[in-house]
Structure formats: structure tokens, C-alpha cells
Symmetry: C2
Subunit: 130 residues, 2 copies
């Protein structure tokens, strides 16, 4: 399961804060009832255009991860949460909204299979569980 | 731009190799003509079911990232490559295919906007470039 989250109209100061991103990445695995296997990695980046700068953060959670990239001058952030297992992503959306003062958050869920997609004429082994 | 890549029928030994994942994550940013801002982070994980184990890896590239999670006992991997800018992802697919002996690789591209989606009755500021 892979959840893609776009947040808009956030607080530029909080979007520019490495600490805010780090605290969020510390909290989210617990909110997902998962255990992180590294401390969050957080860095300030400068993109190719002067207004494209912000904070990039990442945390690894066994076969899962959460990433965030913020754009303070645009008031937005992009995040994604990926896991081998299904999970409730509402807590992550709420943590993001509250942490960065986002006025709108849009999410989309991508299902990703643990088995090879069935193709006509192709013999599959016993289906893997999901 | 966010590219989601699912690879199937790979070589279990290579999918189980931390070194193979690390070398791939070292190479891909160059293949994308991007500069990494941290060494790849690679770890062996054990999921909640005995057969769900493998290698998780991640590299941060300014406002971009690449992640990989492998499942040697299923012969598969999940990867994603995210960037603020558009990029040619064909080299990444080829690196994945060659590194892990994948017989099939499926990719999907998600476009992610740098501007707030236009809503009826909402006044937008000058549109941001993409």
C-alpha cells in the first residue's frame, strides 16, 4: 500500500523548519503502529530555482517508509507513506495538517501487489497472500 | 514527478543482497543526472510474516529520493523515484532490471503539481511554474 499526500496553504515558517519535519517523522510510525529502524534523516535542500528550497525528510520502518519534501515559498508539501501491509493513513494526514497548518490535504492510495499480475496464458504459482 | 516501479521474477540471491541495492542506489542519481546529498541507507528487514524479509534502501537527492524494498522469496521489488523536476526514468528501470535479473518491470507515473489545484470560486495567485 502506497499513499501519496499533497498538502497546500501551509505555514511557511513551519514548512521551513527541520525540527518540525523531524518531530513529525518521529511521531508518524507510532501513529501507524509501526516501529522505525533508523532515526529520521532530515536535510535542508536547495533546488535548481531560487524559490525551490525546503526540507526533505525520510524515515525507514522495516519494509516501509515515509518521506516528506516541503516547499515553504509555495506553502506546500509532498509526502508519501509506503508499507508492505495495509495501514490507516488518516493519522498521518492529521499529523501533517496540524504540524504544518495546512488548509487542504489531498491523498491518493495506490495498491501494490505482492503477486505477479495475472496475464492470459501465463501459469501462476499459488497466489501469494496480501 | 513520481514514478512507481514494480519488478517481478527477479533473481532471489541478488534481491537478498544489500550490496546490490547499495550499488544501484549509488548509480541511479547519476543516471538521472542528479547529485545525491547523502550516502544510500540500506538495511535488511524482517516483516511480520516469516517469508516477508528483504532489503530496504533509500537515497536522498536534494528535493528528490529513490527508495527500494525487495522481497527475495517472492522474486519481486517495489521502487519509487520522486523528483521536483521531470526526469527520464528509463535508465532507472534498466538499472533495476539488470541489477536484479527482473523478467518484467511495470512502472506508472504520477504527476504532482507545484500549484494548488484550481477550484471553482477560489482565487489563485499567479500560477507557479512547474
Amino acid at each position: 500500500m502506497h499513499v501519496i499526500i499533497d498538502g497546500y496553504d501551509g505555514d511557511p515558517d513551519r514548512l521551513a523548519s527541520e525540527d518540525t519535519v523531524r518531530v513529525l517523522l518521529e511521531r508518524c510510525p507510532e501513529a501507524m503502529d509501526m516501529t522505525k529502524i533508523m532515526p529520521p534523516f532530515v536535510v535542508r535542500y536547495q533546488g535548481s530555482k531560487p524559490e525551490d528550497w525546503g526540507i526533505s525528510g525520510f524515515v525507514m520502518i522495516a519494509e516501509s517508509h515515509i518521506s516528506i519534501h516541503t516547499f515553504p515559498e509555495r506553502g506546500l508539501l509532498w509526502a508519501d507513506a509506503f508499507s508492505c501491509k495495509g495501514f490507516d493513513f488518516a493519522p498521518i494526514v492529521e499529523e501533517l495538517r496540524a504540524s504544518f497548518g495546512l488548509r487542504d490535504v489531498q491523498s491518493q492510495v495506490l495498491e501494490r501487489g505482492l503477486e505477479y499480475p495475472t496475464l492470459p496464458g501465463r501459469t501462476l504459482e499459488a497466489p501469494a497472500h496480501r
